[in-house]
Symmetry: C2
Subunit: 199 residues, 2 copies
């Protein structure tokens, strides 16, 4: 008979389903949670259900929020003439950490990916078009990931948006700060060269 | 106003408390859980509380189990004359995976560590002594980790157990299978040399 404690196995399996968590890490995490005081473990479980129950998409930018409007859309000091289009809410967090962007966001919640059966209709594109339609927006920054799907989505949106009279821009490609030329791939290096600027 | 969704921040913090999970991974995991269907997230939350509610320590070997006795102690085909002493239940899983050990276990649930204020009384040592006292046990294998605390605990137990007339053994030290001599530290290499055997 194998050593198999069903509730423990179940917990390990739950952790194993998380992205980037393998069997051994899942086991370590499950044992850690099991060794927490009962009340701490309950807090963990509650955080999961609460996040699900309380978080919804912002009526305007579609990023995750508790209220009707996310704190960024609700903040009148933000520059409403620029919208940065991102794949998901995590990207919003990444931009906010720079503390250098003061415009608004629009979260697509995905990228166009015919291989996965995701077309433009499954993304929050019509909500973006509605925002541009209001006339306040002057620039839309495409900040999707530099992947095939990210590029395709940016191109698709650019074609839709340009006729609406807004400036459509794309994040710069180049060598990451602190990076090493030696390890940069050819495409990145070529893009960095192409995007060079006067110093 | 920063982008701060309280239930999301709470969930990220919960993941961040797990061992080996940093800020970025915690964020990734929290978003993943948030994007799960409601019912999958509930299963995750339930797995945490259920594991806590249903799992207890085996009356005999102290490893984690659902019933009074763990499946290993309850299995009459296991060799009751050998007990393998380990730090925690994860180690039991590791040994069981080898499929080569057919004796019983004893889980200490910790190691002697004066620095952390953990003395022999906080470990399940008297339960081990009671098992030896029953007379059936012929050998006790010390399988604590090869750390200072693991060694100290093994030494402490060996001193207690030897006078009770049982054989006390220790896991072999050496080069890990598939390891590389070049990367082995001096102590491991010395131990491997010392423990060499005829081929």
């Amino acid at each position: 008979m194998a050593y198999n404690v069903i509730p423990l196995t179940k917990l390990i399996e739950q952790f194993e389903r998380l992205p980037g968590i393998g069997r051994k890490t899942a086991q370590r995490l499950a044992f850690y949670v099991l060794n927490l005081p009962r009340e701490k473990a309950q807090q963990f479980a509650d955080a999961i259900t609460e996040a699900h129950d309380k978080i919804k998409k912002c009526r305007v930018c579609q990023s995750l929020t508790e209220g009707e409007l996310c704190p960024i859309c609700a903040d009148s000091s933000r520059d409403g003439s620029v919208i940065c289009v991102v794949e998901d809410s995590q990207d919003v967090l990444a931009f906010e950490r720079t503390r250098e962007y003061h415009g608004l966001y629009h979260v697509l919640h995905g990228l166009i990916s015919p291989m996965d059966g995701i077309g433009p209709d499954q993304l929050h594109i019509k909500e973006l078009l509605a925002r541009i339609g209001s006339g306040e927006v002057k620039e839309v920054i495409m900040a999707t990931n530099p992947t095939v799907e990210g590029e395709a989505t940016a191109m698709y949106l650019a074609r839709l948006l340009k006729p609406m009279g807004v400036r459509v821009t794309r994040l710069a490609y180049g060598i990451p700060v602190g990076g090493n030329l030696e390890y940069a791939d050819e495409v990145t290096l070529y893009r960095a060269l192409e995007g060079r600027s006067e110093i």
